[in-house]
């Protein structure tokens, strides 16, 4: 007696190949549903991080200042850096009021140009001075605010602080539309050498939610008693609200799209199964059990769901990556947790789509089906 590989799997394979247009339509639908779910899930999970990253454009959200008239202890910067972590940006500032040649008072600020450039992206600077290129003996390279420029005569000018006169050279001009426009910025080292004062303010740009910023604030206050630490409330509050609203918006979109695609897939698959009610009836007439036919349909649906989930996961991860690169200029890596979620979702939709018609078919007499329409 010769036995052949005749099994439910075999029947399913033959059925899928024979009805390839329908199978492809169903596979397409399931792939799209999985891809959409993967894209949106991946995006949604990394959205918080991506959005908070964007809010870095607003600059420092924590300001740390020494008590009036004093300067920060020299180890403060290192302490803050250790507490705030490598993700945070920190820019030191020192301020002094100096006199121009005319005797007019002007605010001079010492800072770390590289750090300021990284944090204060809105500073419109003609050409960032290179602090490292300074040669001893030559005038100090200064970045002059557009407003302050009107009170100086020429690009080379002296400033006097506490009887010490410093020769400066305008390397660049700065425009911010705010108080910086009335100031002159020089490298912090030159500032300290000239005035004998070190930094009095640290501006910190800490990424993360309002709660994370609040937490950092507490840790800084605990570590640095005697130093005033406060959040820039204007930024922190607005940021939280906008991030929340964007997340809600994304969530609504996610639900809406997933629902639509899910229902379309459900309808497509249901129709595809219902269409085969005659096959169902023939098999019943040939003596198959309810379970055997049900298994046949479910197996086919599950296979399609599996293939759709795999293809959709790849496609969706790619899509999320593309959106991240294009919109956020950031890498959004594939979210492996999305794979099982998407697979389960697809299986659920596909099995529901196969199961619903089974319920309808169960109540229909095979005879009615065989008599044809």
């Amino acid at each position: 007696m010769k036995r052949t590989q005749f099994s439910l799997g075999f029947i399913v394979r033959r059925s899928m190949v024979h009805r390839r247009v329908r199978s492809l339509a169903a596979l397409l639908a399931l792939t799209v549903s999985a891809a959409v779910a993967t894209t949106l899930l991946t995006l949604y999970v990394s959205l918080n991080r991506q959005l908070h990253q964007q809010f870095r454009a607003f600059g420092a959200n924590i300001v740390l200042t020494a008590p009036d008239g004093s300067t920060l202890p020299s180890e403060t910067l290192a302490t803050v850096r250790a507490i705030a972590g490598s993700e945070s940006r920190i820019v030191p500032f020192a301020y002094a009021v100096a006199q121009t040649a005319d005797g007019a008072p002007i605010v001079v600020a010492g800072t770390d140009f590289n750090a300021a450039r990284a944090m204060d992206s809105w500073w419109q600077v003609s050409r960032w001075p290179n602090a490292a290129a300074a040669t001893p003996g030559s005038p100090v390279a200064a970045m002059v605010g557009t407003r302050a420029q009107g009170f100086l005569h020429g690009d080379d000018f002296p400033l006097t602080y506490n009887g010490h006169t410093l020769a400066l050279h305008t390397e660049a001009t700065l425009r911010t539309g705010a108080a910086e426009d009335s100031r002159i910025f020089i490298p912090l080292a030159a500032f300290t050498a000239w005035t004998g004062q070190s930094a009095s303010t640290l501006e910190i740009q800490a990424p993360g939610s309002a709660a994370q910023v609040e937490d950092l604030l507490h840790r800084l206050r605990a570590a640095l008693p005697g130093v005033q630490v406060h959040a820039v409330r204007q930024l922190v509050e607005s940021e939280g609200r906008i991030v929340d609203r964007t997340r809600s918006l994304m969530l609504s979109s996610l639900v809406l799209i997933a629902l639509t695609v899910g229902i379309c897939v459900l309808a497509t698959l249901t129709a595809s199964v219902l269409e085969r009610r005659r096959d169902f009836a023939i098999m019943k007439a040939l003596g198959s059990t309810q379970h055997q036919v049900a298994l046949l349909f479910l197996l086919e649906a599950a296979l399609l769901a599996l293939a759709g989930a795999a293809a959709g996961y790849l496609l969706g991860s790619l899509c999320a990556f593309g959106i991240g690169a294009w919109n956020f200029h950031a890498t959004i890596p594939p979210l492996w947790q999305a794979a099982p979620a998407v697979l389960l979702l697809n299986l659920f939709v596909a099995l529901l789509a196969a199961g619903l018609p089974m319920r309808i078919l169960r109540t229909m007499e095979p005879a009615t089906l065989l008599r044809g329409e």
């Binding site: 964007q54 911010t176 539309g177 609504s252 639509t260 309808a267 497509t268 294009w326």
Partner: protein
């Protein structure tokens, strides 16, 4: 006869049509909703971003240099020049007046504060402000002032009345330092003033006395004077054109620049309206807002695009299945002598009619959904966008015909007998 057939076909076999109709309806609804959200999210976000406060600062042109560190004026502002409070109405006359959401004039001064109980008088920084000022322009009036500009300010008590010359609010740190509570009476430069509220801001305002502008003008003896004006305007993110110097642009480009709500062009127009004023965009805010606006709108657009693609594929798949179900019908018509052309016309006309009907319903549903989402999230509804109707209908038509065409054409290409024999 064709139309009769078409109508007969459309309303018969409703279960089979239901799949296609549902798919198209949901697809267009999603696409409409996502596009409506995508197109309006910039606008909604722009209003959200107004919580960052002023994005343009107006100061007198000929001015002494500010000597301000940490928000505190190191040297008391001396003579210097002023803007005129009465000129501010003109700002509501500029081209982009509707984009100007709020104005907050400021007049800083130093005043001597004495508590009711005999104590040492102290010289404190003070700021004259509008609280709930009504600005009249023509027949319209606008409510403007500092509290709306600085939404992160927290008030305990009440704001002073703008016209009152005997009321003031006080910064929280200053209040704590001088043990002042809301309702207390103090003397300001010898005149009695009642403290109506305590303001906490998290910045230098915490150490400042906040006065109605009229009182500040009276104390300084400078009627109608303001030192600077904070302006909050809805702006368009900076692009290549916005960065150009307006004076170097060709007349046509200059008009385009002038008529775009860039922070720069609004500042430019403010400068035109106010004599001796210099208006500067506050770049920290405008640049930050621009980044956020672009990223989030971009995100929503991409998600809308994804929705469009996904819905298209889902609808196309449904249409393919729906048409395949009716293969027999096509075979039968062909067997009865209908030409390929007439069968195809009938099917496509039916598909078109179905997709237009479902698409229109989908547009309505999608618009309602978008309005609902807008209300839930931004507390302002997203208006029906008629431009989206042709887009939604076009998408429904295109996708359903594209989804159905392969099945119809393939079946038409087969011998009618083969179609009939394939049964199912």
């Amino acid at each position: 006869m064709f139309f009769r057939l078409l109508l007969e076909s459309l309303f018969r076999q409703r279960r089979r049509k239901l799949l296609a109709a549902t798919a198209i309806l949901l697809g267009t609804a999603t696409v409409t909703a996502m596009l409506a959200i995508g197109t309006s999210v910039g606008d909604k976000l722009n209003h959200e971003l107004s919580s960052y406060g002023a994005n343009i600062l107006v100061t007198p042109k000929a001015d002494t240099l500010d000597v301000v560190v940490g928000g505190v004026s190191i040297r008391p502002a001396t003579a210097g020049s002023y803007l005129r409070e009465s000129d501010l109405t003109k700002l509501k006359g500029i081209f982009w007046r509707n984009n100007i959401l709020n104005l907050s004039p400021e007049l800083p001064l130093h005043a001597t504060l004495t508590q009711a109980q005999p104590s040492q008088p102290a010289t404190v920084p003070a700021l004259g402000l509008w609280f709930h000022h009504t600005l009249h322009y023509g027949t319209e009036s606008y409510a403007m002032g500092a509290p709306a500009m600085h939404r992160w300010w927290r008030l305990q008590g009440a704001w002073p009345a703008d016209a009152a010359l005997d009321q003031a609010a006080i910064g929280s740190k200053l209040a704590a330092q001088m043990h002042i509570a809301p309702g207390d009476s103090v003397a300001l430069n010898g005149e009695p003033v009642r403290i109506t509220g305590i303001v906490s801001s998290g910045d230098a305002t915490d150490r400042t006395l906040l006065l109605p502008l009229a009182l500040a003008q009276k104390i300084t003896g400078q009627p109608d004077a303001v030192r600077r004006v904070e302006v909050q305007a809805l702006t368009k993110p900076e692009d290549a054109l916005a960065r150009r110097n307006p004076d170097s642009l060709s007349p046509a480009l200059h008009d385009r620049w002038y008529c775009s709500p860039y922070a720069n062009s609004i500042a430019y127009q403010i400068q035109e309206a106010l004599p001796n004023a210099q208006a500067e965009p506050i770049r920290r805010i405008t640049q930050g807002e621009g980044t956020i606006l672009q990223r989030i709108s971009g995100l929503m657009w991409l998600v809308a695009l994804a929705a469009l693609l996904a819905a298209s594929f889902a609808v196309a798949a449904s249409m393919t299945t729906a048409i395949l179900e009716r293969k027999q019908e096509i075979g039968l018509m062909r067997a009865m002598g209908a030409s390929q052309f007439s069968v195809a016309s009938l099917f496509f006309a039916e598909t078109a009619l179905l997709s237009l009907l479902s698409g229109a319903l989908g547009y309505l549903l999608g618009s309602l959904l978008a309005a609902r989402v807008g209300w839930e999230i931004f507390h302002s509804t997203i208006a029906f966008n008629p431009v989206l109707l042709p887009a939604a209908l076009g998408m429904a038509l295109l996708v359903s015909i594209a989804g159905g065409a392969p099945s119809v054409l393939r079946t038409l290409g087969m011998q009618p007998a083969a179609v009939l024999r394939e049964d199912g």
